[in-house]
């Protein structure tokens, strides 16, 4: 076997092994500790779990692309909130209200366009200023959040459109609407990253940027497109989530970026770029969601969830490092 294959295999497979371990643990522990009578691996429970994974999962797919590129996006939580505000508020505009229930389709378009536009702004700044994406999106995280507040002050924005709620609560082939969105986005992003020229270029840029530049790949526009994609997905996530809930607080989506990055890193994407997989990210998202629900199931509260996820993230980082250690003769620097 070629060097590194084993650790690559471990890295790819580890997240699924971890999920299996989680499921087994919560199923068994649930027998003794559960606050409800239902088994953890109950069908409805699993369906709900998938549905609840959707908002973070949809954005995490975009974050995988961004991180494979060697960048990071800290502003997705704020984009999520702003798109939600636009989605709900636009339906109350007079000409929209006049269109009746089906105006929500146009509201979706507005929200998604807003996401794309904000992403484009980030991407454009990364491209033209040459400032690190970490700083550009750190600023944008504050700035976009400011825009959310400026839109409607500190009040929640609400609008219930029953056609929309019915759509969001629908189940097709047993799966919820949100789950379908997650699956379609996952499939679409997998296709983008593995089958298209753009996706392969994303890996090349993250792996060896200079080589990509020398090969004539236009790194600037490429990165801008990726920021537009993640902006779109953050807005799509808002569309999926708020179609059902119908009310958004200006603080919604805060710290989303941290959860999403955690999921992507758990899925094995390298922070330095060039390596990462959409399917593993799905695993990372599911692992976090199972942990949350599972800990709830056995009666642990939010505090334990936070503690456990934080420690697991560090443990994963440590294990990954240990698997890649070169041996005792390595340079001690």
């Amino acid at each position: 076997m070629a060097p590194g294959t084993w650790s690559t295999f471990l890295r790819r497979g580890a997240i699924w092994a971890f999920i299996a371990l989680e499921l087994a643990f919560f199923s068994i522990a649930g027998e003794f500790l559960s606050v409800s009578d239902k088994a953890f691996m109950n069908w409805d429970n699993m369906l709900l779990l998938l549905k609840q994974s959707a908002p973070l999962g949809i954005i995490a797919m975009g974050m995988t692309l961004i991180m494979v590129n060697g960048n990071i996006d800290l502003s997705v939580g704020a984009i999520f909130a702003l798109a939600a505000v636009i989605l709900l508020d636009s339906m109350t505009w007079p000409f929209m209200a006049a269109m009746g229930d089906w105006s929500f389709l146009l509201a979706w378009v507005f929200a998604l366009l807003a996401g794309v536009a904000l992403g484009a702004l980030n991407g454009f700044l990364v491209w033209k200023t040459g400032v690190d994406a970490f700083i550009i999106t750190l600023g944008a995280m504050l700035g976009f959040r400011g825009l959310v507040f400026m839109y409607n002050g500190e009040n929640p924005t609400s609008h219930l459109n029953w056609t929309l709620v019915d759509f969001a609560e629908a189940q097709f082939l047993g799966l919820h609407t949100a789950t379908w969105f997650l699956l379609v986005v996952t499939a679409g992003m997998w296709w983008l990253m593995n089958r298209t020229v753009h996706g392969r270029n994303a890996y090349a840029i993250g792996d060896n940027r200079e080589a990509a530049v020398n090969a004539g790949i236009r790194v600037g526009p490429h990165m801008m497109i990726n920021f537009m994609i993640i902006g779109f997905l953050a807005a799509l996530s808002a569309v999926v989530f708020y179609s059902e809930s119908g009310s958004v607080n200006p603080n919604d989506g805060m710290l989303y970026e941290l959860w999403i990055i955690t999921a992507v890193v758990l899925g094995g994407t390298k922070l330095t770029g060039g390596s990462g997989s959409i399917i593993s990210t799905l695993g990372g998202v599911l692992a976090i969601q199972i942990l949350r629900r599972g800990l709830n199931h056995i009666g642990a509260d939010t505090s334990t969830v936070n503690l456990v996820i934080g420690l697991i993230l560090i443990a994963v980082l440590f294990l990954d490092r240990q698997l890649n250690v070169k041996g005792k003769e390595a340079l001690r620097i």
């Binding site: 090349a204 020398n214 001690r332």
Partner: protein
């Protein structure tokens, strides 16, 4: 005479405050291997960047065939038939061989999809020509360095190349891999491609090239026909005067043994190494890249843990767990990679020089400005470091002055053993001979000096004794009186003469 494949006319490239290229003209004929030589800093890489579309020339023009060519970016250069084989491998390791070869121009189907069938078919065809042992789907990260180099070369074959530029292609190749490379170059030649071959290795230049063009200080110095010239002529043209690299014949007064190494091993890196260095003695370590010399130095400096053997300083066994230990024992290392390991480029000259002892240069709890400046002034004068003042950021100094800062840093620690790894890499001629002189001077002052170098003239010039290494083994130790160039070359190729290794 045939029409040139590539022709440069009076190329000028300036950067604010510096004329990097000053009227460079030469031409490459189809089917010719044309060497481009010059010292580091002579303008070779700037010229190549102009050819590759990374820089735009301020004056002059480039002709490909008969067409004047303006290249705004690397892709345009490639489209015009100018292809690069980079010195530093520019591959994406997580992508397949095929994706790397067609990087930036993957064949497309509808919806921006990659046309994998075409991609693999085309790649396999090219790989077949190169007779390599891997296929289009292999991930590049799993290939050896030499095979990665072949992937780079395969890139050149994807287009209808008019001119192919090889930048130090043999730096990391073994002898048998070189043979394959030269065959490839020969094939390109037969196809009527013009080849620019950049290398410092005279031996290769004289073996495979037809003509040699030389740059110095951004100026074109002339073109020589390889068959009608000698190494001396080329050197003369490159450096403008001859560098004194006569054999070392002075012998400083040799004192006690400062360092003794017994049976030192470190995994696969090197095995069973024994030697000693006396005070007042310069011991040169010669061998090819990867022979294990740098790794020995790193072990002596506490940066690697040996797997077996002993290190004795002044007759006393020491265990070096970190550079802190080594420095405390009087060992100093001027590392190979000056910018990566030797200097904090963003810091000023003084702070870099006093870095290892900043904890001791204190007045109360604070760093003493006066003590630091005193040390800096002392070594600036002693080593003739040219800098506007100690506040100058080290990154803004020339390579030679940077190297002197690193040397000054370690001399100010008054070490017993000074290890210098590739002392003159990337340094202009003037500074080179100054540093050579300095090394001899240090020996005469009673320092034990270990010099690692890949340049034979340098090793012969500065050393009292020479240790030849091959693939992690110490083949033989020569005294400067008995060593000959032939025996040294044989030794670093692993051929043992004179009854095997003779521990000094």
């Amino acid at each position: 005479m045939t029409r040139p494949a590539l022709r440069l006319e009076n190329i000028v490239k300036t950067f604010p405050g510096v004329r990097a290229l000053d009227g460079v003209s030469f031409e490459v004929l189809p089917g010719e291997v044309h060497a481009l030589m010059g010292e580091n800093g002579a303008g070779k890489s700037t010229l190549m960047k102009v050819l590759g579309g990374i820089h735009q020339p301020n004056e002059g023009r480039i002709l490909v065939g008969e067409e004047p060519a303006v290249m705004a970016n690397p892709l345009e250069a490639k489209a015009k038939g100018i292809v690069f084989i980079h010195q530093e491998l520019s591959l994406a390791e997580e992508l397949s061989v095929a994706e790397n070869i067609y990087l930036g121009e993957l064949p497309r189907k509808s919806f921006g999809r990659v046309d994998w069938a075409t991609l693999y078919a085309r790649t396999d065809e090219i790989l077949k020509k190169l007779k390599v042992g891997f296929d289009a789907r292999t991930m590049v990260g799993t290939l050896s360095i030499a095979n990665q180099q072949m992937v780079e070369i395969a890139r050149a074959l994807t287009v209808d190349a008019k001119a192919v530029i090889f930048d130090e292609p043999t730096a990391s190749l073994t002898d048998s891999e070189k043979v394959v490379l030269f065959e490839v170059i020969d094939d390109l030649k037969k196809d009527g491609v013009g080849i620019i071959y950049i290398s410092h290795r005279m031996e290769e230049i004289f073996k495979i090239t037809d003509r040699i063009s030389v740059l110095r200080d951004g100026e074109y110095r002339g073109t020589l026909v390889t068959k009608e010239t000698t190494e001396d002529d080329v050197t003369q043209l490159m450096i403008g005067r001859s560098l004194d690299l006569s054999r070392n014949h002075e012998h400083a007064e040799v004192g006690d043994v400062a360092l003794e190494v017994r049976g030192l091993s470190c995994g696969d890196l090197y095995r069973d190494i024994s030697f000693e260095i006396r005070r007042g003695e310069v011991v040169g370590f010669y061998g090819l890249v990867g022979a294990g010399r740098t790794e020995i130095a790193e072990t002596l400096f506490g940066l690697r843990a040996p797997s077996a053997g002993q290190i004795l300083l002044d007759g006393e066994e020491v265990h070096l767990g970190s550079p802190v230990d080594a420095i405390a024992r009087g060992i100093s290392l001027v590392p190979e990679d000056r910018k990566g390991q030797g200097l904090v480029l963003g810091m000023n000259c003084r702070d870099n020089m006093t870095l290892p002892q900043v904890g001791d240069l204190t007045a109360g709890p604070f760093v003493s400005d006066g003590a630091e400046i005193a040390i800096f002034d002392q070594y600036r004068d002693k080593l003739d470091i040219r800098t506007p003042g100690w506040r100058q950021t080290v990154g803004n100094l020339s390579g030679g002055n940077q190297q002197k800062i690193v040397i000054g840093k370690w001399l100010s620690m008054h070490p017993t053993l000074l290890i210098v790894d590739e002392p003159t890499r990337g340094i202009d001629v003037g500074s080179k001979s100054e540093i050579h002189k300095l090394i001899r001077q240090l020996a005469s002052q009673g320092y034990a000096v270990m010099v690692i170098s890949s340049e034979m003239p340098e090793v012969l010039h500065v050393s009292d004794r020479i240790v030849a290494m091959y693939h992690g083994e110490l083949i033989r130790t020569f005294t400067s009186d008995e060593v000959t160039e032939d025996s040294l070359i044989q030794a670093i190729s692993g051929i043992r003469t004179d009854g095997g290794d003779k521990a000094a």
